[in-house]
């Protein structure tokens, strides 16, 4: 087996705060390990407070771990320069499509920015690249002239996706990217994600609290609870034969149209 594309080993995260005068340590993550293989979609599922978002943010370096290490293709990422290099290959899509875009920057500029920062292509070609990318995520190129406030939630999430893809990353980390969207729009974004993953050969980490979405999308799944990984395995296995009690409880709590209750009206 080849080395995983992205690997987190024994990550711990402690938030220190004061409560009623006493110093209080909150363990957001305890000894969490996760690895992403080439071309796979890894789902991380958990409820609020499970630490799934913290873990994902540590994996891209926008939050620092208290202990443990991140490695990209077998090489540990330690110094600031390593993180910069990592972010050429690993990109991140934020949960809230309304806050993840700079409110004062037009879409075209926001999409061209990664290219400008890394000096990837001549200025004259950037607008064309932006237009191509907008088309790839199913948006009209005219959107480049708009401000984020003029777009719907679904459109903004597509823009966020497009921006993350501008650097042609190998890995995409998606943090609850469909949670805020309407069901019909959520399906559009999920379908797009599957299509892009196939087309671009991306390895994907998909974080969600919605087990139905995870089941639909992911090859492998990691179940987190209170800062620990309680179960992981192939999606079918985890969903059809959960081994941990917490996973079972989680699965039982999911509303299911096939369990229609025939309560008399």
């Amino acid at each position: 087996m080849t080395a995983p594309v992205l690997e987190a080993s024994a990550i711990g995260k402690v938030f220190t705060g004061r409560r009623e005068g006493k110093i209080h340590h909150h363990h957001a993550l305890r000894q969490v390990s996760a690895s992403l293989s080439e071309g796979e979609i890894l789902g991380i599922v958990g409820e609020s407070g499970s630490g799934k978002t913290t873990l994902s943010r540590i994996m891209i370096g926008i939050e620092s771990a208290s202990s443990g290490e991140i490695a990209f293709r077998g090489t540990p990422v330690r110094r600031q320069a390593d993180w910069r290099a990592l972010r050429r290959q690993v990109q991140y899509v934020f949960q809230d499509p309304f806050t993840a875009l700079c409110p004062t920057m037009r879409i075209g500029k926001a999409l061209a920015e990664p290219l400008a920062i890394h000096g990837i292509c001549p200025t004259s070609e950037r607008q064309q690249r932006v237009a191509q990318m907008l088309e790839m995520v199913g948006l009209h190129p005219d959107i480049a002239g708009r401000l984020p406030a003029q777009l719907s939630g679904g459109q903004r999430q597509r823009v966020n996706l497009a921006r993350a893809l501008m650097l042609e990353p190998q890995v995409l980390i998606c943090d609850e990217i469909v949670s805020g969207l309407d069901v019909s729009v959520q399906a559009q974004v999920l379908a797009l994600l599957v299509e892009l993953q196939k087309k671009l050969g991306l390895s994907l980490i998909f974080i969600s609290h919605d087990l139905r979405v995870i089941r639909y999308l992911c090859d492998r799944v990691l179940v987190m609870h209170l800062g620990e990984v309680v179960e992981q395995g192939a999606t079918e296995q985890v969903f059809d034969a959960p081994s941990h009690n917490y996973t079972r409880a989680l699965l039982a709590a999911i509303p299911d149209r096939n369990r229609v209750t025939d309560t008399p009206i």
Binding site: R87, Y92, T104, E113
Partner: protein
């Protein structure tokens, strides 16, 4: 607390749609009035040589402290100079000094405020302490200290204003920048590799800008009053050059007998700051409205 608390915050309806020119330009009545007033004052001061033929420094000992009349609309001062000419030409100096002070303090305050939010750790602490010291230090005292060391002149006066004004600006910029910095879009910019400088200039600064415009208006109003105060205390513009505060200083001895000497320049100061405060308030409510609209969408 009754059970109506259940509906707290829900009864407030969305603001009624206002139509018409004012609404389309996003001009509130206050903002429009302020802009109009300021434009009128600015025009009058600029057109001073046209509005009055009198020389603001021409002494005429034969017409001393004449009350307002057809010849001298604002009357004359203690040595017979035309008060209208002095107020108009003095206004040029006062507005120029206040404007320069505003621009300087806004610039310094913005740079330091942004550095506080995005600069290295050591600088952050330094800026915080500087703001604290500046805000705790009475600026009239500072002015006295400086003018006793250096001869008062226009550049010194402007420097004083910058020193007096920057901390207030820096505090506001710091607050907004820190708030914006914690938002996802800043993290997102970090992820695509943007440097701190880039984030500060291209991502966060545009969000600070609307508040800076409000500050600019408020700051100018404060500067007008500050300049008048300093000149009134004799630490500002030196005679014979007219400035609003200076004219009041010259008229202060006759306040009981010749009301126009202090009242009319005082009125000019008041109207100018009023217009600026109106503009500031108007801009503020406009920014809030636009923000609300943004978050609505």
């Amino acid at each position: 607390m009754t059970s109506t608390s259940l509906y707290a915050g829900l009864d407030s309806g969305s603001p009624k749609a206002r139509r018409g020119v004012l609404a389309r330009l996003e001009l509130t009545p206050a903002l429009a009035a302020g802009l109009l007033l300021l434009a009128a004052i600015g025009a009058a001061v600029t057109a001073a040589p046209i509005l009055t033929a009198a020389d603001p420094n021409a002494v005429n000992l034969l017409a001393v402290r004449k009350p307002p009349s057809a010849d001298h609309i604002f009357g004359t001062d203690a040595i017979g100079r035309d008060l209208l000419a002095r107020v108009l030409f003095g206004g040029r100096v006062s507005l120029m000094v206040a404007g320069a002070g505003m621009i300087g303090s806004l610039f310094l305050g913005t740079v330091l405020g942004m550095m506080r939010a995005f600069g290295p750790q050591l600088l952050r602490a330094a800026v915080d302490r500087m703001i604290d010291i500046q805000l705790a230090f009475p600026y009239v005292l500072l002015a006295i200290a400086i003018t006793s060391a250096v001869k008062p002149s226009v550049p010194v006066l402007i420097l004083l204003m910058v020193l007096a004004g920057w901390a207030g600006v820096a505090r506001v910029v710091r607050a907004i920048a820190l708030q914006e910095r914690s938002k996802d879009y800043v993290k997102a910019a970090e992820v695509i590799g943007a440097s701190r400088l880039r984030i500060a200039c291209f991502h966060v600064f545009p969000s600070v800008l609307p508040s800076l415009m409000v500050l600019a208006a408020m700051q100018t109003a404060a500067m007008i009053v500050f300049e008048a105060t300093l000149s009134f205390l004799g630490m500002g513009i030196q005679p014979p050059t007219a400035s609003w505060g200076g004219i009041m200083l010259e008229g202060k001895d006759y306040i009981t007998t010749s009301w126009w000497l202090t009242t009319l320049p005082g009125l000019a100061i008041m109207l100018t700051s009023l217009s600026l405060v109106l503009i500031g308030d108007g801009l503020e409510s406009r920014t809030e409205k636009l923000r609300a609209k943004e978050s609505d969408a």
